[in-house]
């Protein structure tokens, strides 16, 4: 079984320099992890490339939202993509 979306997002974040891995949990905010807004943009880019999705510009909020917020955003983007790909499936 492939790793969960949450697990994949955590791994993508962990690859960045300077991430405090001891606090890398779904409930941590990017600020808790020591990620500034410019690092966050690169992390979001990695996530977009990995899942081949586009995340909205302003939401999730990079500074105050949690890692789980990013996971949820990826999930919604993947759902939207699946729906677009199979519009007649339901």
């Amino acid at each position: 079984m492939s790793p969960s979306i949450q697990q994949q997002v955590l791994e993508l974040i962990a690859k960045h320099d300077g991430i405090d891995k001891t606090v890398l949990k779904p409930e941590a905010t990017l600020k808790d992890l020591g990620v500034d807004s410019l690092d966050a943009i690169e992390i979001i880019f990695d996530i977009e490339e990995h899942f081949d999705v586009t995340l909205p510009d302003r939401d999730p909020n990079f500074d105050t939202d949690s890692v789980q917020g990013l996971v949820n955003a990826v999930q919604s983007a993947l759902d939207a993509k699946a729906n677009a790909a199979a519009p007649a499936a339901d």
Partner: protein, 403 residues
Amino acid sequence: MHRVVITGMGAISALGHNASECWQGMREGRSAIAPLRGFDESALRVRVAAQVDGFDATAHFETRRLSLLDPVSQFALVAAREAVAQSGIDFSTADLAQHTACIIGTGIGGEQTHDASSQKLYAKGDTRLHPMTIARSMANAPASQVSIEFGIKGPTFAVTSACASSNHAIAQALMLIRSGRAVAALAGGTEACITYGILRAWEAMRILADDTCRPFCKQRRGLVLGEGSGMFVLETLEHAQARGATVLAELAGAGMSADAGDMVAPADTGAAQAVQAALDDAGLNATDIDYINAHGTATPANDPTETRAIHKVFGNHAQRLAISSTKAVHGHALGAAGALELIAVLGALNEGVVPPTANFIDPDPECDLDYVPNEARPHNVRAALSNSFAFGGLNAVLALTRI
């Protein structure tokens, strides 16, 4: 050491095709930011830009010459012609041509030519490029074209420092004239950076506003790209007086610094260092300054950082300064930004009115100075600064005084 004055100005931007239209737009706080034109907007997240509107290159240039002119050079030539005409300077006299410099800043250069070439090569699989692709797209093309147009034969080159390119270029001209290496200069900046590739690159930074540009305001959502050019005739005060020229202002000093820190996040210390250096170079005290045309990009990072830098340098006088960012009306024209904003400073010095920061809604507690929101203000401006702080941590500030 020679005193250096400005005797001509020219501009083209989303606000208009000459300096007077651009200044009117700034003074009225009339934003030229509009829905993006010329691109399939369903494919882009960028919604708005400050694009030069209704520009017909064939009305300005012969068809034969146009094959050598990327829009970045076209804009520079249009602005330079206006500046030279206003100044009344004649470069064919005596040995003035050899003692005139031509220094033009650009952040990117001939990007539209690059973009079209890439389309041809990679999208269409057509391997034959126009023979003048290099001559059109090189970053020094605007400086070379302006030198050719006016027969300027002194030091001529391009300066590139992203959003500070114009101010760095004008600072180079100031130093050449002051030191006697040149008697006059055409200096300024130009940019024509709104291409599909560049828009995509800015999108990726997640730094563009989707509504409009609201500098120093709590509801600001990022910068809005602009384009255009501003060009100026600089000369020694003696030379201007000897030929009976009208002096628009004295270019009293310039200050430059590098943050030597982050490639994109600005530092208040680097900005403050450049502001202080401009004051020192001009022999001005902080309390002499009446107006600052701010860098004011409306990004989350720039505006509070710039505000802190101004506090650092000006202390109590910071609260008495009129400060505005005209990027709210002409967008962020990157390498042309400082030159367009010098038009605002010259207007403020000569008309005694400070152009507003347009599109302002509510103040941000982190930006606690007087940004002249929305309405121009009559103000006796005797001395002013123009700030430019670039990606890469490169800062250049100009100091201007009324003469």
